[in-house]
């Protein structure tokens, strides 16, 4: 029997009574039992909750009821997303024993659609990192490239799908944290437009950038999971009322004649030659599909990392002020309230989180606000304008997801700036608030996965998915 389930495969097998939801859940927990010790994709499992949901699906099958779209699909959830009654740590010591009293809207929508939540996945602490090495609970191995990082920050979610421990998973993307691990682990991974998916229950890192999105084995599965989560939520005032298209049927529309911009600035210095060769082959493939590719200019690209690390750290320093040891999480008791705050935060946060709180507090502090934060907000406007102008001429923008292939564990941990530069092609779309996907685009020397990134205009999820799907069907994963 198959182990690399797709959502379509699960749907058929459950409806045709070839497998029950309970059996499928057991099969995935068995694989987690075999592989997780080595991969370390999961931090917490929620078997009771998963089996209760699976039994509900099986009862519906027995009664011949119409099944919801994700009935019985085993899904893993990043540990920055709240799950009622299931420990949610953000891979931080400061939330080691935190059990949320409610579910994130994304999670409850998945369960309402029949999905079985298996457990919570490892990530960089508070989603700050590009390799999942900043977790307080150990590194995650890349199942697609042994010895290498899975990418980050949603590395556990990517690895869970790549190692067949889940059919799909949820990650969060602030500067590339879904797309880059998707690329590194050789699977499709997407963030919708800012506001497309409710963030109620997402533990905040940088609120003007954070988004929830799916990983899966196939683009059509990414589309199905995104569709279920998308749409206005009264509990998140930043979620949008823009209508949600039927992504699954939109996928099937032709891509012939689609105008694709290739920004020259994304092929500059610092780009690995192997990545370049694969992306160029991928662009050729898009041409063969009848897309019209043309070079475009996005002159502010080179300023995106600097802008991102001002805005993201400023927002993080503010969002993480809530961890004070008073209401939840770790407390390191000291003689005064202020020294309790200090000791708690000093002991509870890891190195990268502390570094970003210091940087973020600095760029917001009196005397530096204009020079850094305000400057960053202005350059962010210029980066968004680059995209708006480009989308007047093209329907999609295609770039590499990462300038480098998966790197070795430990290779970049001592140099924060080098680690930040790994996000150089993903942070642009994050700053502009636009939808982006990474799809597999061959492997360097047959070993190291490369991801091709597709950006669309605001709420252009359907055309992004359509192009990614066509690319996948045409053999993009083996260019």
């Amino acid at each position: 029997m198959t182990t690399n389930w797709t959502i379509g495969g699960v749907r058929e097998a459950i409806a045709g009574k070839k497998v029950s939801a309970r059996e499928l859940t057991e099969e995935h927990y068995k694989r987690i039992g075999e592989k997780n010790r080595e991969v370390n994709a999961f931090l917490t499992l929620c078997e009771e909750r998963a089996y209760a949901q699976a039994d509900k699906i099986d009862a519906a099958v027995a009664k011949g009821e119409k099944l919801p779209e994700l009935a019985g699909v085993p899904i893993a959830v990043k540990d920055t997303i709240s799950t009622r009654g299931v420990r949610t740590t953000c891979s931080s010591k400061i939330l080691e024993n935190f059990v949320p009293p409610y579910d994130a809207t994304a999670v409850s929508r998945l369960e309402t659609a029949g999905a079985v939540i298996l457990g919570k996945t490892n990530c960089d602490e508070f989603a700050m990192g590009s390799s999942t090495e900043n977790s307080a609970y150990g590194v995650t191995q890349n199942p697609a490239a042994p010895g290498c990082v899975p990418g980050g920050s949603s590395g556990g979610s990517a690895a869970a799908v790549a190692a067949e421990m889940a059919v799909a998973s949820l990650g969060t993307d602030t500067g590339g944290s879904i797309r880059q691990p998707g690329a590194f682990c050789g699977i499709p991974a997407m963030m919708g437009s800012y506001g497309r998916v409710s963030r109620y229950g997402l533990i905040a890192f940088a609120s003007s950038l954070d988004r929830i999105g799916p990983f899966a084995r196939k683009v059509e599965d990414v589309a199905a999971v995104l569709k279920v989560m998308a749409g206005r939520d009264p509990n998140d005032s930043t979620s949008t009322t823009a209508p949600v298209e039927d992504y699954s049927s939109e996928l099937k529309k032709p891509v012939k004649g689609m105008r694709i911009g290739i920004p020259r600035e994304y092929f500059g210095q610092g780009m690995d030659a192997g990545v370049r060769a694969k992306i160029e082959a991928g662009i050729d493939l898009l041409g063969k599909l009848g897309c019209e590719t043309r070079e475009i200019r996005m002159p502010h690209t080179d300023y995106a990392i600097a802008t991102y690390y001002i805005i993201a750290t400023a927002e993080a320093s503010s969002n993480l002020a809530r961890y004070d040891g008073v209401r939840y999480g770790l407390r390191v008791e000291n003689d005064t309230l202020v020294s309790t705050y200090r000791k708690t935060r000093g002991a509870g946060f890891g190195a990268e989180v502390k570094r970003r709180i210091v940087l973020g507090t600095y760029v917001l502090s009196a005397g530096y606000y204009d020079a850094y934060y305000l400057k960053g907000q202005k350059v962010r406007a210029l980066i968004a304008q680059d995209f708006r102008e480009a989308f007047q001429k093209v329907d999609a923008i295609v770039t590499p997801t990462s300038p480098v292939p998966p790197f070795k564990l430990g290779e970049r941990t001592n140099d924060p700036l080098q680690m930040y530069l790994a996000d150089i092609y993903t942070v642009t779309g994050s700053l502009a608030g636009l939808p982006g996907i990474s799809v597999p685009c061959g492997k360097i020397a047959g070993k190291l996965p490369v991801g091709l990134q597709i950006f669309g205009p605001a709420f252009g999820e359907a055309q992004v998915l359509r192009l990614a799907h066509a690319f996948e069907l045409a053999g993009g994963a083996t260019v």
Partner: protein
């Protein structure tokens, strides 16, 4: 040098963050390098650029309409207190703040 040891100490004070001597020096050097890199933004003339304070365009934000202000039940105090390191219902207990 963009950031001094005193700057890091001042900022850690603002953020209520205890740093060890070793952390202090490591972060100072690393943040110095990051700020040096960030300095490249000064190549751009942004005199007449409006800062981007909102991600979505006005017509895409749901908040263009305000909701009705209605009371909804929210009986979660007990559950929330269960997460507290030192609860004494209905309070969170902390070290003494005011000296007599």
């Amino acid at each position: 040098m963009k950031i001094s040891r005193e700057d890091v100490l001042r900022v850690a004070e603002l953020a209520y963050l205890d740093l060890t001597e070793a952390e202090l020096e490591t972060y100072r050097a690393q943040i110095d390098e990051i700020l040096e890199y960030i300095g490249k933004l000064n190549e751009l003339d942004t005199e007449n650029v409006e800062p981007m304070a909102q991600v979505l365009a006005d017509d895409q934000t749901a908040d263009a309409t305000l909701r009705e202000d209605v009371v909804v039940p929210c009986n979660v105090a007990g559950e929330i207190l269960k997460q507290a390191p030192d609860p004494e219902a209905p309070y969170f207990r902390v070290p003494k703040v005011i000296e007599r």
